[in-house]
């Protein structure tokens, strides 16, 4: 009887050898961390302040682009992953 059970249980040992690779990151640019914002020197001139503020805005927008890219990447990859059924 136990051999019959063993024979029947062989049918349960099926494995599915299909693996999905984790998707690649959206490029090296998106993989770099956002830099620190620049600070002003105590004796900063008006032009220094203006430059520092505009550089900091640029830093923010670069970082925002990267974050938006990751959001888009996640949504696209999730959609692709869910379509594989």
């Amino acid at each position: 009887m136990k051999y019959i059970l063993l024979l029947l249980m062989i049918g349960c040992s099926t494995t599915v050898p299909v693996t999905v690779k984790f998707p690649e990151a959206p490029g090296n640019v998106a993989m770099t961390a956002c830099p620190q914002l620049q600070k002003l020197a105590e004796d900063a001139k008006l032009s220094d302040i203006s430059k520092t503020v505009s550089v900091n805005y640029g830093t923010y927008y670069e970082c925002a682009i990267k974050t938006d890219a990751w959001i888009e990447w996640y949504q696209k990859q999730k959609h692709i992953f869910e379509s594989v059924k």
Binding site: G11, V18, V29, A30, E42, L46, S47, S50, K76, F81
Partner: protein, 151 residues
Amino acid sequence: MWMLQWLPNWIFYAVLLAGVFGLVASYLIRFLSFIPFLYVYKTPIQLGSIVAIVIGTFMAGAIYDNDAWEARVKEMEEKVAAAEVQSKEENIKIVEKVVNKVQIVKTRGQDIVKYVDREVVKYDTKFAPGGICEIPKEFIKAHNDAAEAPK
């Protein structure tokens, strides 16, 4: 199923057919009177045939199930391969978008710095320490505090 990996499928169908043939033959054994001792083995032949039918039927089902799984695996592999290609294409689009936008931001930043060097610099003396509109230290402090990364 490991048994199906190293034994060809036809063997299991042959076992099933042999079982059916043996069972039928065991009922026809009485007509084979020219072989006298064969009737003695009627019950063992029937039992063996039933075992062969059971194994054959089980394995036929297993072959069908295995084929269905293999077809499903192949289908999944094709879907996964297509998804990987689609994923790479989407990544390329995102990378291109990021590179273009970052370039725009950098170019705009450089243009603004040039503008500051050309136009804003004229007001530096007016806003210099001790000038008409001296920039208070509190302003610098407020800016630097805001620029400080959270710890």
